[in-house]
Symmetry: C2
Subunit: 151 residues, 2 copies
């Protein structure tokens, strides 16, 4: 049986790792539909100077090559941005479990319209992580989502 | 002045590199609106065992961190899949120059609806690269776009 709260705890551990490294505190993990972990990762923009490594993409990368991803579940601490929502749609990932969408709402509504099962947990710990980060590092946050800021 | 055909030639060189390495022959490059190259790359699924490195994502990665990407042009040999279309939308990339959309049509129509300038070149060399690849390596191609195949 899949316990969304347990799966989210793995993604949240990744977000906490990212925070401890001075990075954007967003974490993700890819599981199969039996709940077996395939890959986990976190945002690595700061750590690797790599703007392409959003949390979901990082977890997907760490899961590695598979014939397809139809039987997988993406778990993420934050509503997936368009980039990572596009990943879910392109690779046919069937379900997305989301920690919170209060601090940022990406494309999860679009995914739901396109047949992806969405579970939004409204997790206070995930919301607190992002609220604190956006307050303390607004320029880094807006860089991470491609939004120009006044200097 | 931007010459789309010249910019495409850089992406096509990347696709040819990918082909020579035994990889999926799709290339991309990110330029600024003055035509200055910011980053170039190609699909690295086979080379790195990395399903997240589609050509556009690879070029974006190699361009590195920027405050924002509003003043950039993504050039790709093939219509961007949903994953890479999501990248363009999320990071506010203003223009996409595409080699061909005959062998695969991703999200470029969706990008156009969302205000991205699309230039589709119908380049015969790009079409030939993909036609040959899909003919010779169908399982690798369908794996790359997340489509299950019968074994």
């Amino acid at each position: 049986m899949i316990d969304p709260v347990h799966l989210l705890s793995v993604a949240r551990e990744e977000a906490e790792l990212g925070k401890a490294e001075g990075g954007v505190p967003i974490g993700a993990a890819l599981f199969d539909t039996d709940g077996v972990l395939l890959g986990r990762g976190h945002n690595r923009r700061v750590q690797d100077g790599d703007p392409s490594m959003h949390a979901e993409t990082s977890a997907f990368r760490n899961a590695g090559r598979r014939p397809h991803y139809r039987d997988t579940i993406m778990v993420t601490t934050l509503s997936p941005c368009w980039y990572c929502s596009g990943l879910v749609r392109q690779f046919g990932i069937g379900r997305v479990i989301i920690g919170e969408a209060a601090t940022f709402e990406g494309g999860h509504g679009w995914l739901e319209e396109n047949g992806v099962e969405i579970t939004l947990l409204d997790d206070p710990a995930c919301t607190a992580l992002m609220t604190e980060f956006i307050r303390d590092h607004p320029e880094l946050w807006f860089e991470d989502i491609g939004v120009p800021t006044e200097r």
